[in-house]
Amino acid sequence: MGIFSVFSKKKKEKLDESLEKTKSNVFSKISRAVAGKSKVDDEVLDDLEEILVTSDVGVSTTLKIIERIEQRVARDKYLGTAELNQILKEEIAALLAENDKGELLGFDFPKRETPYVIMVVGVNGVGKTTTIGKLAYQFKEAGKSVVLGASDTFRAAAVDQLTIWAERVGVPVVTQGMGADPASVAYDTLQSAVANHTDVVIVDTAGRLHNKVNLMKELTKIKNVMQKVIPDAPHEILLILDASTGQNAIEQAKQFTAATEVNALALTKLDGTAKGGVAIGISDQFKVPVKYIGIGEGKEDLQLFDKFEFVDSLFNK
């Protein structure tokens, strides 16, 4: 317990630090909005709308939050600006909790009969390969054996990039080189994992824009081929989203889900953006949970996403 709480505290510090920019922005803006006012009026709500929209929360989620606060103002008759932060925090936490399913496995899960298979998908340049490297590291740290599958056989040097990550983390990688059939690589990877009783398989795929129909179909094929080795694979289809992406992130989530039944999201590059708000918009608009967040370039800079910790980080000084 002692060690755990220390680790968890360190983890929280890193999260706080990474969200510093988001936090200070949301904060200073809200304090500015309420400066010299004693109660929440239309003007404060207008300002709040601007703050949320400019944090990439999205128009519809913003309107939803504002509406809830309006209802509270109507119900409680009077809402002081001092309470605004607390209420905003509560409302956002409530929004996030509505879609909380929490059925996916963390890094440290009990022994399974067959390998736990994660297929990683996403548009170009969101950080799929980097996230895989970090995931492999976390699983390995948790005492699991891991194998990677280099199914991005399209982008120049993608296989090399994954191989370097595998070496860095110290896990094996299955490759067939550039231009190979991605489904065939996935098949090989799963077979190797079954033969070696590996705990976790992570399969990389080439970046694809979600409106390219045939490329989306290719994902289905990779999935189907995996099922020839392990019938219920992949257990986790992880969609990687770039936190600096705007409202298109929701479109990506929708279309990837339509094509491959995405059941987990990872939000990357959260350290560089003032817009952590996209996590709120996505959790509200989209019924698949954010599972991991990427908050730096090092191999340890990936965390399981804790909604409440996240909201805390956003609002607590």
């Binding site: 920019k21 601007e50 929209v53 400019t54 944090s55 990439d56 999205g58 128009v59 548009v123 170009n124 340049g125 969101v126 950080g127 390969t129 399209f154 982008r155 120049a156 040097a157 993608a158 090399d160 990039q161 191989t163 370097i164 990550w165 860095r168 550039m178 824009l209 979600h210 409106n211 390219k212 129909v213 045939n214 770039d242 600096s244 992406t245 705007g246 409202q247 298109n248 992130a249 479109e251 590059k269 350290d271 560089g272 953006t273 003032a274 817009k275 996209v278 370039e297």
Partner: protein
Amino acid sequence: MFESLSEKLERSFKVLKGHGHITEINVAETLKEVRKALLDADVSYKIAKQFTEQVKQDALGQNVLTAVSPGQLMIKIVHDNLAELMGGEHEEINLKGTPAVILIAGLQGSGKTTFSAKLARFLKSKKGKQPMLVAGDVYRPAAINQLQVLGEQIGVEVYTEEGSKDPVKIAKNSIKYARDKGYNVVIVDTAGRLAVDEEMMNEISSIKEHISPHETLFVVDAMTGQDAVNTAKAFHDRLDYDGVVLTKLDGDTRGGAALTIRSVVTKPIKFVGIGEKMEALDVFYPKRMADRILGMGDIVSLVEKAQEQFDEEAARKLQKKIAKNQFNFNDFLTQIKQIKKMGNVKDLMSMIPGMGKALKNMDIDDDAFKEIEAIIYSMTPEERENPKVLNGSRRRRIAKGSGSEIQEVNRLIKQFEETRKMMRMMTTGGGKNMARMMQRMKGARPR
């Protein structure tokens, strides 16, 4: 690609229909919709606000002429403002200098390496330059390798320094090397960096100082959200770049970043990336983009694209063949290749006015011709030259060879024959044949 935005604007303009002139009251609802559409498109909050205010000022008090509806007038006002917001005329990149040095900078995953290679290809094939690429991303695993692979694809040398972790030195050395080798353009790719990463931002400033590039380009993902403004500004403050490159515009992003960046940093968008192929790079034309956003099509680009791929000599030969009724499957294949060279079929079609909306949910992409090609490739040279010999057993063999159904082979041959007849009539026929042709066209079964 901007279907969603133009659709929304279209819907909001409908509210205006039936009103005789634009007043504060009847414009309010429309403006609200315009603003919401812009925000949904990731246009920065401030810009969206300014923009709608400007549109309102321009719209109010305008007398609606009898010839145009208030909706049409609003479209014009919004269009003019959009075009202005995105900058005036197209601006070329600066290639004066021996060698001309181009520095590429941007966030992680924005597409710098792919763009660098595309730019090299563009300068080589369209501007007759001898470009060299420099692998300055020493951090991301296999980034150098990626540039090398792309360089090989396009036949451009890539300068690397194995084991070196000093991008400033690499960039400096590369220019000396290029000068010795007689290259006249040097494109320096750099590592992706966050605007908030002080150390990395210092590094790129230092690279810029040491190599004094003639052109510095900032590469940004078209899907970027509200942060686009801050990032574009932060890079601008440090690098004072000369132009912006907007990538991944072949996605369905509404591309609000394009609208915003120019107005915040007053630097033009010079190129847009529209696909993963090396030729999927376009010059940015602000006015055309405004047309496109409003669903007015982009006929000019389409015509230019066609011209670029058009080989007059080959066309004359083809015409002769058609006239003699010798048009065969080989020519058919060449035609398909030409269309494919022009780019993604869906992109091409979306440039035709009115098509953007119709195409929204259609399944068209680069593979549209795959089946046809497979069938033709399964024919013997003799069969391609002389399609008359295609009897039942040959057709069965072709179907098997191409992995398609015999009906598909039959359909293709029938289509081919129809096309051939039609083409012949068009080249040889006068008015007399026109009526017959029209009839045939009616008879031709659409797939």
